[in-house]
Subunit: 491 residues, 2 copies
């Protein structure tokens, strides 16, 4: 039932050596940022990007709603103390506001900690909610990676005391649905459990107080070779070389990972045993949800954040989509990792976080997932650019145009009728625009219909309705115009 991945340390995505795919990111990133009137690592979204963003958000929100989620919103800044001690080594990336007399504030780093604060503050013990909003990280914007200091997160979380692994499995089902619907190419969802990792650390001889810091080093295995990871554990973090090697044995290969399930030493760790039992249960639910084709148990998955307590997961795209990369290989061989475009979703269980905000420490178990929407935007943008289909940035159905000069009043009167009937319409803000330029505007912005007014039409009580694509024109009586436009533009 459990598919086991082979963590590959021979072929890695090293940020020092940009891949072809990185370069693709690179170009658009630089293009967006070669300016000095804007802060590096942030970006504007132009109307075309917004149209894509709206489409992606609609898909994601539909999925969250299909699974019965409510939504909440929280402020962009939190009290500094709310964020303190929640993110481990990444805390240095938190943006603080200037002390302008008052409380110390920081920009939110993710949506999970504000969610936990919200639950504790309002004494909510169960909720299924989504939250789409921007978060902030004082990252060094690596020009080679397309990373932003301001970026969207799309989070779905289930809080409440429930039977094991049912909500956890639903989170994975949601990732599967979203990535399938967005049609981003093949993907994998790696699953692990913090308790298995902790149990492994314990049996490898890692001191208790070093679990989290070693965890965040292990998490780099998808980007760095084993030697670099080991070096950080031993020389930067002071772990004994023996313990590091032991960890290397566990995360290093398939046969060992499989053996782990029966490993006598591992099973001495109650934690690891509980984790392994839950992973089995999880996979049985995932089978009922019909998503096991994409989910793999991967012992090298660690995730950087401090607050996870159980199941953790991360989804990666296994083909680079529209980017010009080496041909994909269909097996699970090491080369596959080379064309990975990185994580597009991640999450896990965090049963202790809400309790940190409750005066009495009352716990509310939580599990959730965050969709890595920025990478998805980038891929969709590349796809759109590669496609011949034009992206419309407005939804205008009809242009109110004049065939002769001095018909502004008549145009204003007609467009008022259309707007009041709920039709999406626009006109050129000139007293006497040329017919040609009005028609050109329709071609350029994809407006399907033009309602043309001329002296003859006004005399006859009609409007000339023109189909922009076919150039067919037909006179419609003023009384029938609205119905005709609605008929022609109903999808």
């Amino acid at each position: 039932m459990l598919a086991i991945t082979i963590p590959t340390h021979t072929c890695v995505w090293n940020s020092a050596i940009p891949s072809v795919f990185d370069s693709a990111f690179d170009l658009s990133w630089i293009k967006n940022h070669l300016t000095d009137s804007m802060f590096q690592g942030t970006r504007d979204y132009n109307p075309k990007q917004m149209a894509i963003r709206e489409k992606v958000f609609n898909t994601i929100v539909s999925c969250f709603k299909r699974h019965g989620a409510e939504t909440i919103d929280t402020p962009v800044f939190e009290l500094k103390e709310t964020l303190t001690g929640k993110y481990g080594e990444d805390s240095k990336l938190i943006y603080d506001l200037k002390d302008q007399g008052g409380e110390l504030l920081s920009l939110r780093y993710d949506l999970t900690v504000p969610f936990a604060r919200y639950l504790a503050m309002n004494k909510i013990t169960n909720i299924k909610r989504y939250h789409i909003a921007k978060v902030y990280r004082r990252d060094n914007p690596a020009m080679t990676r397309g990373r932003y200091r301001e970026f969207y997160q799309c989070d779905f979380d289930i809080a409440g005391q429930y039977d094991a692994m049912i909500p956890d499995a639903e989170c994975l089902k949601i990732v599967h649905e979203i990535l399938s619907e967005l049609d981003l190419g093949d993907f994998r969802i790696k699953v692990n459990d913090r308790r298995i990792l902790d149990g492994m650390f314990a049996v490898c001889g890692v001191p208790d107080n070093m679990f989290r810091t070693i965890c965040s080093t292990v998490d780099k295995l998808d980007k760095l070779p084993w030697e670099a990871v080991k070096n950080e554990m031993v020389n930067e973090k002071g772990l004994s070389e023996e313990a590091a090697d032991q960890i290397g044995v566990y995360v290093g290969g398939m046969d060992l990972a499989e053996r782990l399930l029966q490993d006598q030493k591992m099973c001495q760790s109650t934690q690891a045993c509980a984790g392994l039992t839950d992973i089995k249960l999880l996979f049985s639910y995932l089978q009922l949800f019909q998503v096991t084709d994409k989910v793999v148990f991967d012992l090298s998955l660690a995730r950087g954040l401090d607050y996870y307590t159980g199941i953790i997961y991360e989804a990666i795209l296994t083909q680079a989509g529209v980017a010009p990369v080496a041909p994909e290989t269909s097996n699970e061989a090491p080369t596959e990792e080379c064309v990975t475009v990185g994580s597009v979703a991640g999450g896990g269980r965090y049963d202790g976080l809400v309790g940190m905000f409750d005066p009495k420490g009352r716990k509310v178990p939580c599990v959730g997932v965050s969709i890595g929407i920025e990478r998805i935007f980038s891929i969709m943008e590349q796809k759109a650019e590669a496609s011949t289909e034009k992206i419309r940035t407005t939804e205008v159905q009809v242009m109110v145009a004049a065939a002769q000069k001095n018909l502004l009043e008549e145009r204003l009167r007609l467009i008022t009728e259309l707007w009041n009937a709920g039709i999406k319409a626009e006109l050129m803000y000139k007293k006497s625009p040329k017919l040609l330029s009005q028609l050109q505007h329709c071609e350029e912005s994809g407006i399907p219909l033009v309602a043309i007014l001329g002296e003859q039409e006004l005399k006859n009580g009609v409007v000339k309705l023109r189909n922009v694509a076919t150039r067919d024109e037909v006179d419609i009586s003023r009384a029938d115009l609205i119905a005709e436009i609605k008929k022609r533009t109903s999808a």
Copy 2:
């Protein structure tokens, strides 16, 4: 054609004496903020508030799209220098980020300055765009006024060199449409022109370099009595008493305002003349747009911001909606001002702002409007609380329930079918939930249908479909279930 308001200084909304309506705001505000795990002046939105917010945003966005607008997004922070010198006296309310090594950043104060920066940076000379996002002001959150330090703005702007007053009139048409559709009760849109104000200041003897600061004092006339406004002009800002009295004569009453249109002295000011001519043209377009019923020319309207250069406007609700206030009077008498709930939209023309960001100072004329969405939310929330209709916070169509124990696997299998068919469904995250508690959850959260599985149903290949409201139950074959649910839940 021009309706003229009577500025009333006898009956004012003085923040020192909270009105009944203020108290209504007051309570919910305090309730939301009596906590110390959150920063004063910010708030969370709970699922019920979010459902209302979504509805309001949908109405507004539909209107913007009906008028052919695209949308853009900009970062929450801008370079500090981008915001410097754009807001006059209000600049002290800008939030700065801590200098953590790098550029000096500030949180955006509105959406207009980032829009202007965006246009200049991308050399865009015409666009019609909307932008809905949060902005930040380091205001002293007045507990009596329901003001927030983080709040939404919904902006619609038209940039481009066009014939006079056509886009300006469309902005007012949009305000009229939105306030009508949201059904917030009666409203007025006050209109003035900065050039008329400046012309008036000139003929009253205000020194050129004091125009903007006197302007922001005049703007307080809707909240402070004339004596307080005069006092600020003379004693705080050093204006001569004669000039102040002259201003008082112009903004003080109807007959004077009307006379102004023929006033010889005023017409010596080219600026004022141009403003008055444009106001006339504007009203002729507004008549074609059928919105003159709500629009009034009000010489006492000044608006605080520095960047306006022409037409300015502000919409106010003239009845307090659901708040317990004194009965509304139907005429334009002074008492009407007493039940004003304040500005719900405002904007104007700012032809110089984009040029401030262009290295060569190239100007892009702009006109826009900002919807004061937070007040609208408050009113809609009060309306919702007063109404008997329950607000749903999810869109779940069907609950997958079990009539007996140990049917978790069967429920997971069924809900997978439903989700995969696009049906919004949920189940309880328990192995063996009680039927009663499953039905109760439906009643509480407004789920209309329950698909009940029991041993008998499984044996017969059917599902018992229950209508929660009527309690009718009927067996449906598994093959027909999805079609039946879709049929029953299509609006």
